[in-house]
Point group: C2
DNA sequence: CCGTTTCAATACGGTTGTGTATCCAATACA
DNA sequence: TGTATTGGATACACAACCGTATTGAAACGG
């Protein structure tokens, strides 16, 4: 039972992995199917045996990466919800730890967001993904709020939207100017102020 | 003196304009030179008579758009610095009014940021542009702080970085989900809290 | 006016990328 | 052990795109 029909899904996985790297390096349009196959160690024959087109692969890659991201989150959630530390430490920690490679994740994520801004179908998929992603964060926030003495004066969902916005905007700056904006600096200096403002004991 | 050597720069301008639109629609790599020429009403002959390559055009386009953006800013600055209203109204107003088409600007800007994250040369250019952009904002903030009774407990530059981060992160959400996140909503609900926190009378 | 220069159009060659059709090896199955 | 099936490699046909070389027309200068 080494290779019954496992082989197929293994090459699929390697192709997806290769696509992730190549897309991060050259972008969605800039990467050719051949580039992806080279990276994965296959030829285009293998590719078209597994995917109908590059667009199809992009969609599959999106599904796969977001699935993995949500896995990571659900794995980290219970720990963060109970562990000592502030609410913000938990949320920001989750945002940081969920993706192993911040740079690659940012490149892919931005690339797909751009794609979604041009394609309604991709927009639907992305919005769905981001919605459940924010829901997880919202649950975490509400859980921590419940167990602590805090109370938020704004809906938790709204607060999460802000944290995500700051995180993404700050990440872009950090990746562009790592020295001027150390990763997490903007979040950690300003978000506590917001939390202070929206929480009443 | 209708067309001495003005014609050349006119076609250059039309090509740049066409490139802006096409890049916004299909992305940098997704747009072919022919696409751009079609949009501008020329053939590729005109293109290669004016630009050496698509990369060169991209750089020229970046220069042109950022130049125009800085013009807009310097035109708006004196008005905003003196006009009544809060500090945040001024800064956010500037961010909104500087670019006529928010969606197009966001697409192009994000596209170029992505490009810069992969190409050191483009990164240099982008960092420079963003630096003087932030400097203008910082001047505005300091000017307003000076004329009012406010005093900031954090460097103005740092504060501007946060505002920019929130603005860009929020804009991405607004463009993706216009109904769930009306343009400017996140900024206007949360940034006043931060300003409160960092200002002492 | 007539040559000259300028600028965009046209024509062409070559490269790159896509998708399909066929082939070949390894495994599953009888 | 022989046959069928599966999955990836190879080969090919075709389309898109790039960049250059050449041409044609319009403005300019004498």
């Amino acid at each position: 039972m080494e290779t019954p029909k496992r082989r197929r899904s293994a090459t699929r996985a390697r192709l997806l992995e290769g696509a992730l790297e190549v897309f991060a390096e050259r972008g969605f349009h800039g990467a050719s199917v051949e580039d992806i196959c080279d990276r994965a160690g296959f030829t285009r024959g293998a590719f078209y045996s597994n995917f109908g087109s590059k667009d199809e692969l992009v969609l599959a890659l999106f599904e796969a990466t977001t699935d993995r991201l949500l896995e990571q989150i659900t794995a980290l959630l219970p720990e963060l919800a109970t562990q000592p530390g502030t609410l913000l430490d938990a949320v920001l920690g989750l945002l940081d730890d969920a993706a192993p490679d911040q740079r690659q994740w940012h490149l892919i994520s931005t690339e797909f967001t751009l794609h979604a801004l041009r394609s309604p179908d991709a927009a639907d998929a992305l919005i769905r993904q981001r919605t459940v992603f924010r829901q997880r964060l919202t649950e975490l926030v509400e859980e921590i709020v419940r167990t602590s003495e805090l109370q938020l004066s704004v809906p938790a969902d709204q607060f999460v939207r802000l944290v995500v916005a700051v995180h993404e905007g700050a990440r872009a700056q950090s990746l562009l100017e790592p020295d001027a904006v150390p990763a997490g600096s903007l979040e950690h200096t300003f978000l506590p102020m917001v939390l202070d403002a929206v929480s009443r004991p």
